[in-house]
Structure formats: C-alpha cells, structure tokens
Amino acid sequence: MSRNTSRPLSPHLTIWKWGPHMLVSILHRVTGSGLSVVGGIALAWWLVAAASGEEAYGKFTGFLTEGWGMWAGLVVGIGLTWALFQHTFSGLRHLAMDIGAGFELQTNKFWAQMTIVGSVLATALLWFYILEVK
C-alpha cells in the first residue's frame, strides 16, 4: 500500500500519555518476540543436546552450570521465565477482552497492572523455589 507523503498522519504513539494498558500491550509483543527467538532456540538446543547422546548433553549442562555460562544461563533463564509469565498473563487478559469483557476503564487498568504484578511475583517465587528449595 503506497502512502501520499504530503498528507498528514493520524496522531501516533508519541503524543499519548502512557498508561499501564499501553505498556502491557507492547510488552505482550516484546515478550512474545523474545520468547519466540530465545525460548524457541533454548528449547530446541536442550532437546537436540539430549538427542545427541550423553557427552553432548553433558557439554550443554556443563556450559549452563559453570563459569560465565552459569551467569548467562541465570540471566537468560530469569528473563525467559518473566517473559513467559508476562506473555501468559497478558495473553489471558487478551482472551478475556476477545470475548468483550474488561473494557471498563478501571477494570482494564486494574488487570493491566495485575499482569505485571503477577509476572514479577511468579518469577520471584519460581526462582526462589529453584535456587533455595531444590
């Protein structure tokens, strides 16, 4: 589709006052894209390593449990799980909105905020469980 550049564009992102719903909306896309790339590769890497024999799998787990690989793994792991919880919660919010629920201003704002509170809490609880309990 070609656009006549001499015509004005409708008001865009930059002129609106930011609210939680806008943040959650774009976070849904950012986390979705991040999960697609990093999560997709991580899942395939793990499975390919497991299918390639004990030695190959040992290299994979060795990389993630020693030295800088452990720190990289921890940062990516925490990032991935947060992205996952955020995408899941904002995805559930989208499913509710798809059936026409939750559009009232206060309700909409509340659940937008709750997806962020929920994702941060769930991530913290999960990593507490992995690092302290397990």
């Binding site: 589709m1 896309r29 979705g32 894209s33 999960l35 697609s36 997709g40 590769i41 899942l43 395939a44 499975l47 390919v48 497991a50 299918a51 004990e54 799998y57 040992g58 787990t61 996952l84 899941t88 995805g91 559930l92 499913l95 798809d98 469980y129």
Partner: protein, 128 residues
C-alpha cells in the same frame, strides 16, 4: 485503471472468506500451548534432576513424548502466527514478505529440530 484507489480495486469482489482464520488459529494455539506448557512446566519441576538419564528416560515414555511433540507443534505454530502479525504491523511492502518468509523457514527449521530430537529419544534404545 491507475485512477482507481486500492479500495476501489477490491470493492465488490466479495470477502476472501479467510479473514478471521489467522486470528482464530492464533487464539486456538494460544490455549493449546498454555495447557501443554503447564504440563511441561510441572513435569520439569517434578523431575529429580536435569541429568541425561533422567531427561531421556522421561522422554522415552509415550505419555511424555506425545504431549512433548504436541507442545512443540503448538508452540512453534503459535510463534509463526504471532511473529507474522508483528512483521505485518512494523515492516512494509517487499521487506514484509521477505521477513515473514524467512521467519517461516526458521520456525519450521528450529521446530523440526526439536520435534525430531524428541522422536529420536523416544524411539531410541533403552539405556544399557
């Protein structure tokens, strides 16, 4: 012909009848991915460790291999649909076609690697 607007070209031709298909499939795969992901997540957390023996023995059971294969299918399908929408909104014209095509190739490639790996483990001989 040139004087017609883009809308004028398509008006009266009727709907393509596939307008909502992509949208609907994205919702369907979101639900199936969510259900399968909860299963995957709980299963992984319940494993005593993430060692080679534990993981491959776990994946050798049909009751784990099949949900895992469905999880991979559902997830990578959802990735394909979702990434397409993102490209469509932010890149345009021929770049868009290129980006979506490349994404589809990569999604199928990485997804196939994951899928085949599960099959290989599941069909593999028992550890001695």
């Amino acid at each position: 012909m040139r004087s017609k607007t883009a809308l004028g070209h398509v008006r009266g031709l009727g709907s393509a009848r596939t307008g909502a298909h992509h949208w609907w499939l994205e919702r369907l795969t979101s639900v199936s991915t969510l259900v399968l992901f909860v299963w995957f997540f709980v299963s992984i957390l319940r494993l005593p460790d993430m060692g080679y023996e534990t993981v491959t023995t776990w994946l050798r059971s049909p009751l784990n291999a099949v949900p895992m294969l469905l999880f991979i299918l559902s997830t990578f399908w959802h990735i394909k649909l979702g990434m397409q929408v993102v490209w469509e909104d932010y890149v345009h014209e021929s770049t868009k076609v290129f980006a979506i095509t490349l994404t589809n190739f990569l999604v199928i490639g990485v997804g196939a690697l994951a899928f085949f790996s599960v099959l290989k483990i599941a069909f593999g001989a028992e550890a001695q």
